[in-house]
């Protein structure tokens, strides 16, 4: 029960910090549950995001339910989902009218500007997390790149290489998203089929 309360408040925190949509949850969740508490491995987290993306419903909510369930079972899932929506309901009910009036004040403008910039940076960071699970075969070894500052050749860890299937599918998705108006469901199903077929060769 206690753990459920902790989960509830953790997800309240994530919800308040989640500027710019559900993808912002990726860096927040990996920092908490993969790096710090280690209840999930990075590849489990990646699979979890994949499931959250292909099942109906908002990605953030799906991920929250799953993380809650992995942590504490049914009540954990409930606590995490409720935690994610509670701040939104509170903010929405009290400030829905107010924010339009205060939109141009210095405090609100500054806050939105700053958090927007941080959100862009963190979504780019989420991209690098996902690069480590698809385009490359393991997480990007940032610490090895420290050698570049000493003008040395970085030593890449064992098993870190480019995955051809990942590059192909990721590239194809980007091109299709920019050039066509295919719904994301079609893209995801296509990617799933392509992944199964490409697993023959790579």
């Amino acid at each position: 029960m206690n753990h459920c309360l902790v989960l509830f408040f953790q997800f309240c925190k994530f919800s308040v910090l989640c500027f710019g949509g559900g993808y912002m949850l990726i860096p927040l969740l990996t920092a908490q549950y993969v790096d710090q508490e280690q209840v999930l491995t990075m590849s489990e987290f990646g699979n979890l995001c994949s499931v959250a993306q292909v099942t109906p419903g908002p990605v953030g909510l799906n991920t929250a339910t799953y993380v809650g369930y992995v942590n504490e079972g049914f009540f954990g899932a409930l606590a995490a989902s409720l935690g994610l929506i509670a701040p939104t309901v509170l903010i929405g009910c009290s400030a829905a009218a107010g924010i339009n009036r205060w939109k141009d004040t210095f405090l609100v403008k500054g806050m939105l500007k700053g958090t927007r910039l941080a959100a862009v940076a963190l979504i780019m960071f989420a991209v690098t997390i996902f690069f480590g699970m698809s385009v490359f075969t393991r997480t990007i070894p940032w610490e090895s790149f420290g050698a570049l500052f000493k003008f040395e050749r970085p030593v890449l860890p064992e098993g870190f290489r480019v995955s051809p299937a990942g590059v192909l599918i990721c590239g194809a998705t980007i091109v299709l998203m920019l050039k066509t108006k295919l719904p994301s469901t079609v893209l995801l199903l296509g990617a799933a089929a392509a992944g199964a077929v490409l697993s023959f060769w790579f």
Binding site: A31, T65, V89, I91, V120, A121, V167, T173, S184, L188
Partner: protein
């Protein structure tokens, strides 16, 4: 359908069912819900105008929280007050919660051994990578324009790589934003003074052209 004559309870039920249907059917994030929201609330029930929906879209992306729930709360609030907001949020939560719960109880570890299933997961992960990259670049193009903003994003990114907690980064971004906006308005005021009133001072944001290539950080 004459929505205005509906009783209060029926209104709440309508909100619950509409959002239940939306999140049960729409795959993908909050923004994918928008066309369906428009179809149901603007075209079918005429509870919102297109302008109100546009305002709402902007608002749901500025306030914190995931976009899907933000939209549910604001529409619920508009149609049925606080109980309406609760009903809409509950409706939006129920289907994904149930579906994920079933999947999670069947596969608690998501660590498949089957080669093809592994391939399927790898494929979806790669597609999701591309989708986040495109979303991130679009956000970048929209909100990062001046050199100082480029620098700020770079610093935030570097700090995230160095394992600074993302929560801390967002909190630190708030005072930074205040300083930045204060500095910007001061600079704008000065530019306005030196222009002798002859020319109108260009707003700072558009004084630096957004660079086309810089947007695609990779």
């Amino acid at each position: 359908m004459e929505i205005q004559t509906l009783s209060r309870a029926r209104r709440l039920l309508l909100l619950y069912c509409s959002f239940f249907r939306i999140t049960a059917l729409v795959v993908g994030g909050g923004l994918a819900m928008l066309p369906v929201i428009e179809e149901i609330f603007v075209v079918k029930y005429k509870l919102l105008t297109r302008e109100e929906l546009l305002d709402m879209t902007a608002l749901t992306q500025t306030v914190p929280g995931i976009i899907a729930i933000n939209s549910a709360v604001y529409i619920g609030m508009k149609v049925g007050g606080v109980p309406g907001a609760l009903a809409a949020a509950a409706g939006a939560v129920t289907p994904p919660f149930t579906v994920i719960l079933i999947i999670a109880s069947l596969f608690p570890h998501l660590d498949p051994k089957n080669r093809y299933l592994l391939g399927v997961f790898a494929g979806i992960r790669a597609a999701v990578t591309g989708m986040i990259l495109v979303t991130g670049c679009r956000m970048f193009r929209r909100s990062v324009k001046t050199p100082l903003e480029y620098a700020a994003v770079l610093v935030f990114f570097a700090l995230a790589v160095m394992k600074v907690s993302p929560a801390l980064l967002i909190l630190a971004a708030v005072p930074f934003g205040w300083c930045y906006v204060w500095w910007q308005t001061r600079r704008l005021a000065r530019a306005g003074q030196s222009a002798d009133g002859g020319k109108t001072a260009a707003p700072v944001d558009s004084s630096v052209e957004p660079r086309e290539n810089g947007g695609d950080a990779k």
